[in-house]
């Protein structure tokens, strides 16, 4: 069912947890559907230097978050913005079709985390 890459990420998920004093946070999903993904990012010089995730979700959800954090780390905000859920799925060597639309939302969480970072930054500069 799952590709080797998915199973590898699921087995050894990278970057689990929460970055301390995060510059941005994003969460998608809800427990009733059985999928929640929460990302926290640390940004320096417009570059995501650290990213961690937590998830309540299935194998695909865990692997997607893990894969996304790997893809994102070191990227600029602009580069990170361009990453889609589809990119994550492709990087994982594909996901079962039933999983595409519920468990593959890590990029959405990232967008929210970036939004959060940007709005905080704005607040900061406004202050």
């Amino acid at each position: 069912m799952y590709s080797e890459r998915v199973m590898e990420h699921f087995t050894n998920p990278r970057n689990v947890g929460e970055v301390e004093q995060a510059d941005g946070e994003g969460q998608v999903g809800n427990p009733i559907c059985g999928d929640i993904m929460k990302l926290s990012i640390k940004v320096e010089d417009d570059r995501i230097v650290d990213i961690k995730f937590k998830t309540f979700g299935c194998g695909a959800a865990i692997a997607s978050c893990s894969m996304l954090t790997e893809m994102v780390k070191g990227k600029t905000i602009e580069e990170a913005r361009a990453i889609t859920n589809r990119d994550v799925a492709e990087a994982l060597g594909g996901l079962p079709s039933v999983k595409m639309h519920c468990s593959n939302l890590a990029a959405d969480a990232l967008q929210l985390a970036i939004d959060d970072y940007l709005s905080k930054k704005e607040e900061g500069s406004n202050a």
Partner: protein, 393 residues
């Protein structure tokens, strides 16, 4: 890595004695039971013997056993068979919210085709109330279908009581005994049922073969139409090897039922008690006493079932879950939902079903692994941190 199989409610391995009994019917004894020559008569005799064995074990007559291509087909035959054959008498059918999909989906099909279906609720243990069955009966009711024991949470339904009510009211009564055959004693007279389904692969027989008990005099339309096999109630060349395997496996299982029930109960209690003692935020599902001796169903809050299963699999442990992710649908288990389990908790359900080869050592290993895996997943869960009573690491 040793594999530990705790998913006997999903399927079981064919026992060596069963496979051995089946083998000749693939090769030397390959005749078609409908053929008049000796090779055909030999196959016919094997069928007759298998039928007599199954009938005996159920307390039925040989003519009352119809072999099918599995438990789902048996359920379909029972329900559509009675529905289509008794349409002139009424169009109302009663079932419960916790039935297997082979029953519920069949009901939905009938609903789309002019029948009226009442789906009875269950209590928080997944139990049907016989009084509600009685109250739901109308002059149009032609059939009631309530399972013997639930495949997810193991709750045993009050079949005898329901059967007695229906026998008095002369309404046909079907029970899906797929999960109890081979585990509990089954006597169709004591259960007061007119139709009863079973499936070989749940009791160490082959997949793709089942049986339906049909009480004499029950009007039933065939489900697979065609040849005159199975006294015109199920067409198609008989799966002789499979049927021989079903009978052999059923005879072995029912013969050992007392010792196996005692063994399974002891193992189950060890597992149950271990989980209760070592993991918190758990919820045990199903009836505490009216339950299958081999079933533990538990919800671990804050984690999702499929992730749990995959982690267990990494440790060589096979189990199952009512999580939406494991069913290919978006909804968690309809059984847990019907019992009032909140969906977010239902997603974290785990079903462990024991079998004849499990040992105490295996249970202890499973407990250790469970403690570790649940902790790992909770650590990963954004829901866990939010709860006040975070337990010790």
């Amino acid at each position: 890595m040793n594999r530990i199989y705790l998913d006997h409610a999903a399927t079981t391995a064919v026992r060596p004695e069963v496979l051995e009994a089946m083998l000749p019917y693939f090769t030397e004894k390959y005749g078609n039971p409908s053929s008049v020559y000796s090779l055909g008569r030999e196959a016919r005799r094997a069928l007759d013997e298998a039928r007599a064995t199954v009938a005996d074990l159920l307390g039925a007559d040989e003519r009352e056993i119809v072999f099918t291509g599995g438990g789902s087909e048996a359920d379909n035959l029972a329900i559509k068979g009675v529905a289509f054959a008794n349409r002139h008498k009424g169009n109302h059918i009663i079932t419960s919210a916790v039935e297997h999909h082979a029953v519920l989906d069949t009901m939905h099909f009938l609903e789309r085709n002019g029948f009226r279906i009442t789906v009875l609720p269950v209590d928080s243990y997944g139990m049907v109330d016989p009084n509600q069955v009685a109250e739901a009966l109308t002059d149009d009711t032609i059939l009631v279908s309530i399972m013997h024991a639930n495949n997810e949470v193991g709750t045993i339904q009050p079949i005898e009581e329901i059967g007695r009510i229906l026998a008095e009211k002369k309404v046909y009564f079907h029970t899906d005994a797929v999960q109890t055959a081979g585990i509990l004693p089954i006597n169709v007279a004591e259960l007061h049922c007119d139709l009863l389904s079973l499936s070989a692969h749940k009791f160490y027989g082959p997949k793709g073969v089942g049986a339906l008990y049909v009480k004499r005099g029950t009007k039933i339309e065939p489900h697979i139409h065609g040849g005159a096999q199975e006294r015109k109630r199920r067409a198609g060349t008989e799966n002789v090897a499979g049927i021989v395997g079903l009978a052999k496996a059923f005879a072995l299982a029912q013969g050992e039922i007392e010792t196996s029930a005692a063994k399974l109960t002891a193992l189950r209690d060890r597992l149950w008690d271990g989980i209760a003692a070592r993991i918190d935020h758990v919820r045990f599902n199903g009836h505490p006493t009216q339950r299958l001796p081999n079933n533990v169903n538990v919800c671990f809050s804050f984690i999702e079932g499929e992730a749990l299963l995959l982690n267990l699999d990494m440790h060589g442990i096979a189990a199952s879950s009512g999580s939406a992710c494991t069913s290919g649908s978006l909804e968690p288990s309809h059984v847990l939902v019907a019992m009032g389990v909140p969906p977010e908790i239902a997603h974290g359900s785990l079903r462990l079903t024991l079998g004849r080869e499990n040992t105490e050592e295996e249970i202890d290993t499973v407990l250790d692994v469970l403690v570790e895996v649940v902790a790992k997943l909770r650590d990963m869960s954004p829901l866990y941190e939010e709860t006040p009573s975070k337990p010790l690491p």
